[in-house]
């Protein structure tokens, strides 16, 4: 638009609400009156009625109650023993990928939680927190970190090689920041870690403290 509104413009949220028929009748009449006299706002209103195709949302979104909160405390020792057994049984499968050495997708960090959630997009479908990938699948990384300004960086480790597919960023931490997207290729397991820090995380260190990781396996 090249010209401004001569009066008080109708805000974008109100224009959008009007386009959706959500404004109270009196407000809607006032907006219509303004639009009749204001070509600038009318053009914006026309824009608000345009159709936009949206990317799909994940099919399922189960509640995230940490599993350890759903178990009686007396089973703690048994759970720990079972976890240790699993780590031993599921240890490196010959690919050189040491799953047991990775932090989990949610770790305690500076009085809060650091977490990485992945959304996999494949052929128009989206899956939340997938465990498998096919060559070329696209993933969006959603990062949760304790409140405050922090640096976050995403590192993908595959075949012993580390890649940083998303630019490191200094962000105001909230729940599930959209850190960016990347693709996984090949047919070997990949770990996707988010590293957080007060300073820009060095890229020559392995993910450890201050990292949360998700492990993705190739589709069978």
């Amino acid at each position: 638009m090249s010209a401004g509104c001569a009066g008080t413009p109708v805000s974008w949220p109100r224009l959008e609400q009007h386009a959706l028929g959500e404004l109270p009748a009196a407000d809607a009449r006032a907006v219509d009156q303004h639009l009749a006299d204001c070509p600038t706002c009318r053009a914006c209103f026309d824009e608000a009625r345009e159709t936009i195709a949206l990317p799909p949302l994940p099919q399922t979104a189960a509640p995230r109650t940490p599993w350890w909160r759903t178990w009686p405390t007396w089973t703690g020792a048994a759970v720990a023993a079972a976890a240790l057994l699993l780590v031993i049984v599921l240890r490196p499968d010959g690919s050189g990928h040491r799953a047991g050495a990775l932090p989990g997708p949610r770790v305690a960090y500076k009085g809060g939680e650091l977490a990485i959630d992945l959304v996999r997009e494949r052929g128009g479908d989206a899956s939340l927190d997938p465990t498998r990938y096919r060559d070329g699948d696209r993933f969006a990384a959603l990062v949760t970190c304790p409140p405050g300004d922090r640096w976050i960086d995403v590192v993908v480790t595959q075949d012993g090689r580390r890649d940083f597919p998303i630019a490191a960023a200094r962000v105001a931490c909230v729940n599930r920041i959209d850190a960016g997207a990347f693709r996984l290729t090949g047919d070997t397991p990949a770990s996707v870690c988010v590293i957080a820090g007060d300073e820009r995380p060095p890229r020559n260190a392995l993910p450890g403290d201050g990292a949360a990781c998700a492990l993705i396996w190739p589709a069978r």
């Binding site: 509104c5 959008e16 959706l20 949206l54 949302l57 994940p58 959603l142 962000v171 920041i177 959209d178």
Partner: protein, 165 residues
């Protein structure tokens, strides 16, 4: 039409409006869609239900503002957005025909606190009145005035740097 009953239906209903809003801030259709999709994945995970104001359009607008500002605060994202989308039409306020492009928003994001930035976006990108802004952000008109003063000072400083260079 009634309000959205859950996050998925709110996505269907308000998603296009929010993509348009994010696109005005970022100048990038793909990033706008990613931002909005990420927001609703989060809302689905929290099992936000109808009646919660988090699913009302003004509050969703606010959430999108903050996610876009987070993206713009990173210099590499900013550079990528500028290189990929500079030719696209930047957001232009109808209030005083002020152009708030990706570059300007990003430079302001480096200088201003989060609340002042939110206020600036409400006023100059979303074209909200001071009263609407105060209601949405739950701050007084006086606070709006003070923060707007900071934002204008930052804008003037940026303009001064451009003149000097």
């Amino acid at each position: 039409m009634g309000p959205a009953s859950d996050a998925a239906s709110a996505y269907e209903r308000y998603g296009p409006a929010l993509v348009r809003k994010a696109r005005r801030m970022l100048g990038s259709d793909d990033d706008a869609r990613d931002i909005v999709q990420g927001l609703f994945v989060d809302l689905m995970q929290k099992h936000v239900r109808g009646g919660d104001r988090a699913l009302e359009l003004p509050y969703l607008y606010r959430a999108v503002t903050n996610r876009c500002l987070n993206l713009l605060r990173d210099s590499r994202n900013r550079q990528r957005l500028l290189e990929d989308h500079a030719p696209e039409q930047p957001a232009r306020s109808r209030l005083d025909d002020r152009v708030i492009g990706v570059d300007l928003l990003a430079r302001l994001a480096e200088r201003l606190d989060a609340r002042s930035l939110e206020i600036l976006v409400c006023l100059y990108v979303d074209d909200m009145t001071q009263e609407e802004t105060a209601t949405l952000l739950e701050v007084s008109r006086r606070t709006i005035g003070k923060r707007l003063g900071r934002a204008r000072a930052a804008l003037a400083a940026i303009a001064g740097e451009e003149d000097a260079s």
